[in-house]
């Protein structure tokens, strides 16, 4: 083995170790957060943050890693929420079975839409997915015998608690336990996506995003991978929907209006699309910022819109690009060649 190969291997080990340190730190943060913020208001916000991070991760995987502009992410979010809730409420199916069904349904819907649009260039997919979100919203609104339309579904119970040997380990009526559940799941999804994008699959996806024709000349079937990525991202949104329904306890179609898809898009873009860590911080920032700027009221969405526009214009890499620039500036000796 040559020297350079050995040093590269050592470098990889080092990177691997620092990545696991990062996961450990993230887990510690998740454990510490509800202990620091111990009132109901902030604990609710924390859980909403975790749900939004999940949504942003799913969209980023579709947009950032395969370059498919999905403007209908709200549809998969809504499908996950409604399918799981209706299975629980109407058929009495246990929560976790309904969760799996909601995730699978959202994922299949994503693959279905992607199959429609996979032959088409970016703009066609953008409009087809927007249309899909409009259709799903109208169905939720108008299929009153099933979804109760604008009246909504009330009194959705949280997931059943975990009981071992007669003692309750986790009771999800408790805000802290619910936050641990959602953020633990989100961390798991992050870990899986992180492994996936670093594997040969990730390289395949990047190749398709950069130049599908060249990728095809290497024997990569772009369509199959795009459908796979779309389905996976949509399934993650479905999971977020299941958690949302059982967390809020109420479902109305307006929660899944098309503007929700734009909000998630803003989180991905502001954080930095094509990285996994960026959308995490984008989602946290854009969820908490309006809460911190309490006084702005209706201008909340103006902030989202402005963030989206100015980030694209002046810092297309989002927070990740900003962090890198600051890092470069602070490093002793300045910018390296």
């Amino acid at each position: 083995m040559s020297d350079s190969a050995i040093s590269q291997r050592v470098g990889n080990d080092k990177m691997l170790r620092s990545r696991w340190v990062g996961y450990l730190l993230a887990a510690l943060c998740i454990i510490a957060l509800p202990l620091i913020f111990n009132d109901t208001y902030w604990r609710t916000n924390l859980t909403i943050c975790a749900i939004n991070v999940l949504l942003a991760l799913g969209l980023d995987f579709i947009l950032g890693y395969t370059g498919q502009l999905n403007l209908g992410h709200s549809a998969f979010y809504g499908l996950g929420a409604y399918v799981s809730t209706l299975l629980i409420v109407k058929l009495g199916i246990p929560f976790w079975a309904a969760f799996v069904a909601g995730v699978a349904f959202a994922g299949l819907a994503g693959m279905f839409l992607s199959l429609f649009a996979v032959r088409l260039r970016g703009h066609y997919l953008a409009i087809a997915s927007l249309g899909f979100a409009v259709i799903i919203y109208q169905i939720l609104l108008n299929w009153i015998s099933l979804t109760q339309g604008p009246l909504g579904i009330y009194g959705i119970s949280p997931p059943p608690g975990i009981v071992v040997g007669g003692t309750v380990i986790a009771d999800f009526r408790n805000l802290t336990a619910f936050f641990y559940l959602v953020s633990g799941f989100t961390l798991l999804v992050y870990l899986l996506l992180d492994q996936l994008v670093r594997s040969p699959v990730g390289e395949t996806l990047t190749a398709i995003r950069e130049d599908e024709v060249s990728a095809a000349s290497l024997g990569i079937n772009g369509a199959v991978w795009k459908v796979f990525a779309f389905g996976l991202g949509a399934a993650v949104a479905g999971a977020a929907g299941c958690f949302y329904a059982s967390f809020v306890g109420t479902l109305v179609p307006d929660a899944f209006y098309v503007s929700e898809a734009f909000t998630i898009l803003a989180m991905v873009i502001v954080g930095g699309m094509g990285t996994l860590i960026g959308p995490v911080f984008g989602a946290i920032l854009l969820t908490l910022l309006p809460e911190i700027l309490r006084g702005i009221g209706d201008l909340r969405l103006v902030v989202y819109g402005a963030a989206l526009t100015f980030v694209v214009l002046f810092m297309p890499g989002g927070l990740v690009q900003a962090a890198r620039m600051i890092h470069e500036k602070l490093r002793p000796g300045g910018r390296r060649p």
């Binding site: 703009h123 409009i127 409009v134 103006v302 214009l313 297309p316």
Partner: protein, 294 residues
């Protein structure tokens, strides 16, 4: 009896259809020269409508003058969005970034209008809204006749402009091949700016004509733009004749769905048609051969 209903709904369909054509033509013109989508086009419709409303109700101007004002407001917005978003982003070369940036502009504009004008619908009454003529059992308001007349004339003028004037020919040349058109001494930047101004002016004036027959709220344009997007794809992106045909079809689908099915199904029917078109014939109703660079 049923024939009357069918005819009555046909007229309603043409009224809305011709307005959708005005909005969709703007999108398709921009796509033709730039292969880009301006998502804020919807809000140009809304802002055009509000401009006409305030011009009429605060300054007491006539309706036709108000349509002209909406036209100018739209034109100004078109110039602005080209200069601030599309021109700077063209250098970056990513086909999706401008679309994402204009989604941001759209979210901003909608919510600014929401804080300024409030969510309660405005009653945009013109002097022609209540004048109705009756013909063979069909009722047509003068407002509807004005809408059909003004949009037909506008569409015809645009069509003549594209076909017969030097600028129109240059515009088509740029949409076929920007580099070669540049070599022929056509300044593409000027023509792109001109396209944005014309396209957005059409959106503004469509707003001034839509508001009296639709509700005027800060989100009025959004309900129109989703249909306009569907029309643009059904008609074939960048194709003027296809867009006109698809616009009228969608208008008719809408009025017959309202009459015979359920108004809640309109968007579902229109987008189901869109998805079917994407599968059967993604190039649109009237196919135009387009070279693709690999």
């Amino acid at each position: 009896m049923t024939t009357t209903i069918v005819l009555q709904q046909a007229i309603n369909g043409v009224v809305f259809g011709s307005l959708y054509v005005l909005v969709a033509l703007g999108l398709t013109l921009i796509y033709g020269v730039l292969v880009q989508i301006n998502f804020a086009h919807a809000d140009f419709v809304t802002l055009g409508a509000f401009a006409a409303y305030f011009f009429m109700h605060l300054l007491g101007a006539g309706y036709f003058l108000s349509i002209g004002v909406a036209f100018l407001v739209g034109a100004a917005l078109g110039w602005l969005i080209n200069a601030s978003i599309f021109t700077p982003l063209r250098l970056k070369g990513n086909e999706l970034l401008p679309l994402i940036a204009t989604i941001g502009v759209s979210v901003m504009m909608q919510n600014l209008m929401l804080t300024w004008f409030g969510p309660i619908p405005y009653a945009f009454e013109t002097e022609y809204s209540s004048q109705v003529i009756r013909f063979a059992g069909i009722f047509v308001s003068w407002q509807n006749i004005i809408i059909i007349a003004v949009s037909s004339v506008t569409i015809a003028l645009l069509y003549a402009f594209m076909k017969f004037t030097f600028l129109g020919k240059a515009l088509r040349a740029v949409s076929q091949d920007r580099e070669t058109a540049g070599l022929m001494g056509i300044n593409p930047n000027y023509l792109i700016m001109l396209t944005f101004v014309i396209a957005s002016a059409l959106a503004g004036m469509a707003g001034a004509m839509l508001a009296p027959v639709l509700v005027l709220t800060p989100f009025a344009g959004t309900s129109v733009i989703v249909k306009a997007f569907a029309i643009v794809i059904i008609g074939g992106f960048g194709n003027v004749e296809g867009t006109i045909l698809a616009g009228l079809i969608v208008g008719l689908i809408e009025s017959y769905t309202t009459q015979f099915l359920d108004p809640g199904l309109i968007d579902i029917v229109v987008f189901a048609l869109l998805l079917v078109m994407l599968v059967i014939k993604p190039t649109g109703l009237i196919a135009e051969r387009r070279e693709e660079n690999v």
